[in-house]
Symmetry: C2
Subunit: 479 residues, 2 copies
């Protein structure tokens, strides 16, 4: 969608610009702009939005597009629509006493920041583990051990690659658990997968401005690449993962971003033949494979699928983090790099601003090396599997017509829906007080709608005591 | 200096590009490019550099410029020069056993990363507290208390403004200790002063592309602003701080960056009349004042000078961090913002990638609220004062001709030198195994050389047991 601005000052009596820019359909772009305006506080809670007809005229886009965007944002809880009162920005939750003025803060899809937004009663949006499962005691024990034995230089200026203790612990752990072939010298610590992707876009983006991504994936990652000036083309995703044969195109693709362990979000592992094929393709074309190993540890029905990285450590970058396994608030991730990329990544990482806290890195190093990380992952795997089994059992009983897919691994499942029903179901869920996302939200904007309707159900998200209620609300929303 | 590249492949037998770009004199730009090449490992330890005549010819710059750059880098420990052997990249220190391959990592001025570079015996480069002074026990006690009482949402997605607990603790602390007028809602946590400056450049840069900075200041900050597309003009610094009258120019200045508590690096506090004047100027022109309160807590001879922010919280942004008071490795800083900037800064801060670890934020909140931070600052203030007194006593005895300035506060002093001697003294210090910086390194490139020769002596940097030796080496280097 071409960049365009609209000034809502007249209709709102306030100075508000909507910047309609970035990737995606018109509806998606408008929704993002409205979310941004609410999140930043420019559209205050209770503000009445212009009627969709006026906004459509101002923006010179179809009325249905605006009406759809309004309806979706109502479903997501950003806006409210009441008979006779028009469409308004939803009221924020009251700030807790003594906490100062609360600015409206609301979720970003794929990397959510729901503090203080009007929360739905139940949350099955994928993307984060239940925060109440954080292993406080074990983490503190690691902090105590790590800070007690740390050399003084731990509190000095630091190393842009990350603490050596952590890189050593990661090298050992990733080799053992994920079959990764590396040395500590080829690991660079970063703040998470998004940081890794941004650094890689800066370094490897220059090789080729064209990257391939999966036709279904995190919009946040695509947006990040678009922001870095890296155009992406979608690879069709089927039950064996991404169709790697589509990499053989006349257009030169320099980098491919994949989720081989558990395709995100549709859920299958990349087929062994395709694993080999993508590495062969990278070798023969000089391209680079980025392996987003976002939930490689959470496999339930058999041994984890090893990392594609092990097939060729000079052609594959493995990216991981503790965001799914421990907590996204720790802001620690890693890249396992081909040797020739290490220096460029360190240079791109730049000044200390972008580094992770050394004390947290030391704590995580101890947490991994002491075996506490293994124990925590095992415990969470059991809990996730129990939740997954509960989900499938409830659905088998109450919605047997719904097929549940992508459940061999991970923290979410995909519920396949009859074509054309997805948006209605998401809205119905919102009426049930349930936040959940549709598969369409993850589709690459250049990938044709393929009639694949579905819900992405993050079964690891809610705290234990609300999980049953969330499943009940889910069943009541299904067709 | 215009962008230009030189390929040293022929002279080095390896593929090396020097990118001569960015702000500063030709000498400064060349030095930065060489430092970057060494730091990134592209110029390996022991690599012989081309003779300065050849490099000057390749780069089409004056021979003296290259010769000077080589000499300075020898003085700083990046290069070595031996009769008959030419100029080479200095050998790195051997990596500790079992730590994998150590890439050469060397200091960035102003924000240094000296892990594993060939370290001089003594280090009086300003910029960081002695890492052995980190209060491990008290920090761990705070971590234990904080993680024990933290609500579950501490391990969830988080708040882009930073944890409320920390913003509350900071609001109380900054009001009490620095006279800052704020509420927690106007504080945004970031990863340090550089992060704050980058966010402010993104948000306030748009108001006016012209910022005023002090004629002496951190090159790193100027470089960061240049990188963000913000041109800077220098304000003359004298014994009363920056000459705020120079803000009244025909060119419209939209933002001024100052170090009012203790001008960095020359050392005086901003005169009370100028404090009032800069706020008046900001009010009358609609401009913004950025107050870099980098060492506001370390004042020795009388009560700390309150923050300029207190004169007008709607016109002044205060930036601070724990980098000088606790450790730069924690990566926690803050901005106290005018209310109307908060939302824009939160938006500019963007996705979680840029946030600080929530567990560290909670730990710091407890550390401040429990009084441990006050105790630590008091202890460090005593230690810094003792070191400062030792410095002045030693100099009074052994180099009475050297005037010591800027010592009422902070973690460094400026030793004034006879005009024209500064670079020779820095080199002499290097021969004594002492790393120390000259005042010229901090001068704004557009500010005329004013014959102010001096050394910037970071007396808080060395560990206790080497401080005496460092002072001895310093005295032996002085003219």
């Amino acid at each position: 969608m071409a960049d365009s601005w609209v000034n809502l000052a007249e209709s709102l009596g306030a100075d508000l610009h909507l910047e309609l820019t970035g990737p995606g359909s018109r509806r998606a772009v408008l929704m993002r702009a409205l979310r941004d305006a609410v999140r930043s506080g420019r559209l205050a809670p209770g503000t009445k939005l212009p009627p969709y007809r006026s906004l459509a005229a101002d923006l010179r886009i179809a009325r249905n597009t605006v009406a759809d965007a309004y309806a979706e944002l109502v479903a997501e809880g950003w806006l409210t629509a009441r008979q006779g009162s028009g469409t308004r920005v939803a009221q924020k939750a009251s700030p807790p006493p003594g906490r100062g003025k609360a600015a409206p803060v609301a979720p970003v899809r794929g990397q959510r920041t729901p503090a203080r937004r009007p929360r739905p009663t139940y949350d099955l949006v994928q993307g984060q583990p239940d925060p109440s499962a954080f292993p406080r005691g074990a983490w503190l024990a690691s902090a105590r051990r790590a800070l007690t034995v740390a050399p003084h230089d731990a509190f000095g200026p630091g190393d842009p690659r990350g603490r050596a203790e952590l890189r050593e612990a990661l090298a050992e752990y990733l080799a053992r658990v994920r079959g990764v072939r590396t040395t500590p010298a080829r690991i660079v610590v970063c703040s998470g997968a998004a940081h890794a992707l941004r650094l890689l876009a800066a370094v490897a983006g220059g090789r080729s401005r064209l990257w391939a991504v999966e036709s279904y994936g995190l919009p946040f990652h695509r947006g990040l690449l678009a922001g870095a000036g890296v155009p992406t083309v979608p690879l069709t995703v089927d039950e064996h993962g991404a169709r790697t044969a589509e990499l053989e195109t006349p257009r030169k693709i320099g980098v491919v971003l994949l989720t081989p362990a558990h395709q995100f979000p549709t859920g299958g592992p990349l087929h062994p033949e395709r694993r080999a094929a993508v590495v062969d393709w990278a070798r023969s074309t000089g391209a680079l494979v980025l392996e987003d190993d976002y939930d490689g540890e959470f496999r339930y029905d058999r041994q984890p699928v090893g990392a594609v990285q092990s097939l060729d450590p000079d052609r594959v970058v493995l990216m991981g983090s503790v965001s799914k396994s421990l907590s996204p608030t720790l802001r620690i991730g890693w890249m396992v790099l081909p040797e020739q990329l290490v220096d460029d990544i360190v240079t791109a990482k730049g000044e200390r601003e972008q580094w992770s806290s050394a004390t947290e890195q030391l704590t995580l190093a101890d947490f991994i090396a002491s075996g506490a990380y293994d124990r925590h992952v095992r415990k969470m795997r059991q809990r996730h599997r129990r939740r997954r089994d509960q989900l499938t059992a409830v659905l088998a009983e109450r919605a047997p017509q719904v097929r549940v897919t992508g459940i061999a691994a991970g923290l979410h499942a995909v519920l396949r829906l009859p074509p054309g029903t997805e948006r209605a179901v998401v809205k119905a869920a919102a009426w049930q007080g349930l936040a959940v996302e549709g598969l369409a939200d993850y589709r690459h904007p250049d990938f044709p709608a393929d009639g694949r309707d579905g819900l992405v159900v993050g079964y690891a998200t809610p705290p234990e005591h609300t999980y049953g209620g969330a499943l009940d609300a889910l069943c009541r929303s299904l067709p």
